[in-house]
C-alpha cells in the first residue's frame, strides 16, 4: 500500500519520492490547515510528528514489503526549532532490523537538511 493513499497522509497532503539510493523523501507542502500557532505563525508540532511517523512507516514498508502496514510500537519526537509556514521535507533511516521489530530514525527539515526542525525515533512491529 502506498503511503500517499492513506487517508491521514492525504489529509496532511504528503508527497512521496524514491531517491536513487532507495531512500524515500516525503514532502509536506505548506497549507493553512497545518498551522498550530497563528501568531508566529508556526506549524502544529503534531503535524510534523505525524509526517515523521508516516515517513518512518513508509521506509519500513518499502524495505519490508507486506500486505499489511508496519505498526508503531512507540515513537519519540524531539523538536529543535519551530516549523515555519513553508514546505517540510523528511527522510528516515532504519538503524536496526530484528525478526519482528525495526528501529527507525527520521528527520524533518525546511531550509536545510542540516537544520532539522524535528527528529523522530521509533520502533515498528513488522507484519507477521
Amino acid at each position: 500500500m502506498d503511503i500517499e493513499d492513506l487517508p491521514y497522509a492525504r489529509f496532511l497532503g504528503l508527497r512521496l519520492d524514491v531517491t536513487e539510493d532507495d531512500h524515500l523523501t516525503v514532502t509536506m507542502p505548506f497549507a493553512e490547515p497545518l498551522i498550530g500557532n497563528p501568531m508566529i505563525p508556526a506549524l502544529h508540532g503534531g503535524a510534523t510528528a505525524a509526517m515523521l511517523e508516516l515517513t518512518a512507516m513508509a521506509q519500513v514498508a518499502h524495505d519490508h514489503p507486506s500486505a499489511t502496514l508496519p505498526r508503531p510500537i512507540n515513537v519519540t519526537v524531539a523538536y529543535h526549532r519551530p516549523g515555519r509556514a513553508r514546505d517540510v521535507l523528511a527522510r528516515a533511516q532504519i538503524l536496526k532490523t530484528g525478526r519482528r521489530v525495526v528501529y527507525v530514525q527520521a528527520e524533518a527539515w525546511q531550509e536545510k537538511e542540516q537544520l532539522p526542525i524535528a527528529t523522530l525515533s521509533a520502533h515498528f512491529l513488522l507484519a507477521e
Partner: protein, 144 residues
C-alpha cells in the same frame, strides 16, 4: 486561578488554531489538574483504510495538544509554550469508527519546563490506546 480562564480561554485553546479546527478537536472539561480533549471519528483521520483505525499521527497530535492544555491549566494562564520532547507508546489499535478521548495532567512545573503525562482511549482511561510522556518549554513571558 480565574474561573474565566478555565471556562472561557482554555476551551478556545483546544481548537483555536487552523490545524486543531481542521482535525475537529473539542474541549471536554477540566477537573483539578486534569483536562480532556475529544476527537470525533472521521474517515479522513484514519491511518489504515483496511481497518478504519485512527492514524498514529492523529493520536500523537491529540496527545501533544491535550498536554499543552494541561500546562496552561496548571499555569492558570496562557503563555507561549513549545513541545521539547514527546514520547508515545501505542498499546493497541483504536476501535474502528469510535471517537477518541484524551486526558492529560501536568504533574510538575518549574520556571521554564513543564512535565506532562497523557492518555488516549475510547471510554475507559484504564484501557488506553496510547500513553504519552512529554516535556514543554515555557517560552513566553509570565503575565501574572
Amino acid at each position: 486561578m480565574s474561573a474565566d480562564f478555565i471556562d472561557e480561554i482554555l476551551p478556545q485553546l483546544a481548537a483555536a488554531s487552523a490545524h486543531t479546527a481542521a482535525l475537529g478537536f473539542s474541549y471536554d472539561g477540566a477537573a483539578g489538574d486534569r483536562v480532556r480533549l475529544r476527537v470525533p471519528w472521521r474517515p479522513e483521520l484514519v491511518g489504515d483504510p483496511t481497518t478504519g483505525v485512527l492514524a498514529g499521527g492523529l493520536v500523537t497530535t491529540a496527545l501533544d495538544h491535550v498536554g499543552g492544555l494541561a500546562v496552561w491549566l496548571k499555569l492558570g494562564q496562557y503563555r507561549t509554550i513549545a513541545t521539547l520532547d514527546l514520547r508515545v507508546d501505542y498499546m493497541r489499535a483504536s476501535a474502528s469508527a469510535r471517537e477518541l478521548v484524551t486526558e492529560a495532567r501536568c504533574y510538575r512545573l518549574t520556571r521554564s519546563v513543564a512535565f506532562v503525562r497523557a492518555w488516549a482511549f475510547e471510554s475507559d482511561i484504564d484501557d488506553p490506546i496510547a500513553a504519552a510522556q512529554s516535556v514543554y518549554m515555557l517560552t513566553g513571558r509570565d503575565r501574572s
